[in-house]
Amino acid sequence: MAKITLKNIAHRYAPNSDYALKPINHVWDDGAAYALLGPSGCGKTTLLNIISGLLTPSEGNVLFDDQNITDRNTAERNIAQVFQFPVVYDTMSVRDNLAFPLKNRGHDTAYINDRITEISRVIGVEDILFQKAQGLSADIKQKISLGRGLVREDVNAILFDEPLTVIDPHMKWQLRTELKALHKNLGHTMIYVTHDQTEALTFADKVVVMSMGEVVQIGTPKELFEIPAHTFVGYFIGSPGMNVLPTIIDGNKAMIGQHKIVLNRDYKGLKGKLELGIRPEFVTLTNNPQDLPVKINRVEDVGHYKIVRATLNGHDINIILKEETEISGDMNYVSFDKSHTNIYADDWLVTP
């Protein structure tokens, strides 16, 4: 196990092309569970492959503990990786699959047997050890792929590249819970790539959000929710995502069209495209004419809460109401929770 440091890592697939991964500096703490979250093509798999050594970055260094391993190959880095599609050696039995990485590393039979007994119990394949891997269901194959990583006691980190893509929805939940439990029991550093926010937020201690080859925010699920560092994080996390409204800032006042909102602090010297971000959860529907007038378009009842789709000054705005809230005909105004109202300049959060 190791602390993983990325020093000025960046990658272009061809010289002079655009960055597939823009420069990033980050330390992955030993034993923590991270999620790399972002839409397809945002560079998260590129970043993962740089850590695993399947790809050599065009700039910067990767350090395991304090050792520079940028030029080392995957095997030398001693990491385990679980891929999007389960990779098992079809012609081998489940047992031989698990033994394969150890045999290749020249361990003796007694040790291999011990490890297999332990890991097959952990991933729950004791009953099918002697069955051929071919023809097993996708979730069991994916467990075997994971098991091949876990049999090596000394792996520095376990990387997951959208491992639940091909798993049935009901098995997804179960496997994710098992992964979380594994992390608790074994304490490996785990990095989990996904484009599914639920997966990321439930699995990880810290979530790394990426967009267009750039890390836009690293934080706990709570931080991502309450203070998105970038409008993208606001959109991408939460359902529906954060409301982002063009605004003009004057001291502690924000103007949306003709309407004024008092903020909880002064903003000075802001430049660029200014926007106000507020999550639907922190918007309240009122009947007070002092508040901002909205035009309600429709109300969606999703069971445990209601989503109000409305228009404010020509821009769409979503409001989340508790299930029991009654909506009366005169509730055509909204007020914002001051402490959860964020201001963005050129898409980045303005911090004090």
């Binding site: 995957t74 990786q81 990779v87 039995s93 394969f100 002697f130 069955q131």
Partner: protein, 291 residues
């Protein structure tokens, strides 16, 4: 609801039945017809029962041809299958100009008509004007495929390898291309050796196409006629007289229609049987459980 019985649909298969009848059943039945009769011309036939079959089964001449045929097929399979896999493994994996060029080069021999292939090698191997034959002769090697049976065999085997290895290469290449990158990456992480990657990833994934390659190459080589006929005409002596060549000699050269028909049927059954055995063995080895 009451089911109405309507058998008219059977008429729908009639066109196919007629086509198959003319393309396969009727010609085959003609052969069956010949195989149990004797003729002295003038369209007069005499019933002889299974006599021709007995004769064919006990004929030393046909035994020899069968032996040569089996040897030939075994030799070209043991060369073409591993060589085809080897070449496919070394083809560029990424699509691009280079891989397209390689594919065209590899596919080229498959596009040449069989008798042209024969002619090419017939000339190529000639001691007087052929590049290969002349060079070997100049190097002091006794190479003359018209007189030396070993040289004749070598020529025909090299020719077949040249002509047909491409088929194995193309099939294997298609199999290899279908392996997702993740398999190779996982193997790297598991520290698998090059041999292990071949043995546990590439070979199992190529299994399906290899089965087809072996079957096709077996059937084709077991029926080979045109190329050796053009190059050696079955000689020197009977050294390269394979089953088809012998059959044609018997049927058209000697006009022994009865024995030739019996021979054809046995020939057909042998190919069918061996193909079936191949297929069954390879498909079944797949589903067996390990313990």
């Amino acid at each position: 609801m009451k089911k109405t019985i309507n058998q008219k649909a059977w008429f729908m298969v009639l066109p196919v039945l007629i086509l198959v009848a003319f393309s396969a059943v009727i010609p085959l039945m003609t052969v069956v017809n010949y195989s149990v009769q004797d003729t002295f011309g003038n369209n007069e036939f005499f019933w002889v029962g299974l006599e021709w079959f007995e004769e064919v089964l006990h004929s030393e001449r046909i035994h020899d041809a069968l032996g040569r045929q089996a040897l030939f097929t075994i030799i070209i399979l043991t060369i073409e299958i591993p060589l085809g896999i080897f070449v496919a493994l070394h083809m560029p994996k990424r699509s691009g100009l280079w891989s397209s060029l390689c594919l065209v080069l590899v596919a080229l021999p498959l596009l040449i008509p069989w008798n042209v292939v024969g002619t090419i090698w017939q000339i190529f191997g000639r001691v007087d004007i052929g590049l290969l034959g002349y060079m070997l002769d100049q190097m002091g090697i006794d190479y003359n495929y018209t007189q030396n049976s070993f040289a004749a065999w070598c020529t025909i085997i090299v020719m077949d390898v040249w002509h047909w290895t491409s088929l194995v290469v193309l099939l294997c290449y298609a199999g290899l291309k279908s392996i997702p990158d993740a398999y190779y990456q996982a193997a790297k992480i598991d520290q698998a050796s090059r041999w292990a990657v071949f043995r546990y990833i590439e070979l199992p994934k190529m299994k399906g196409v290899l089965l087809i390659a072996i079957l096709l190459r077996f059937m084709d080589s077991f029926m080979i006629y045109t190329e050796p006929f053009v190059v050696t005409g079955g000689g020197p002596g009977n050294a390269t007289t394979f089953l088809s060549i012998d059959l044609v000699k018997m049927a058209i050269g000697q006009f022994d229609l009865g024995p030739a028909a019996a021979f054809s049927l046995i020939y057909f059954l042998v190919i069918l049987l061996v193909s079936w055995v191949f297929y069954t063995v390879m498909v079944h080895s797949d589903t067996k459980d390990m313990s």
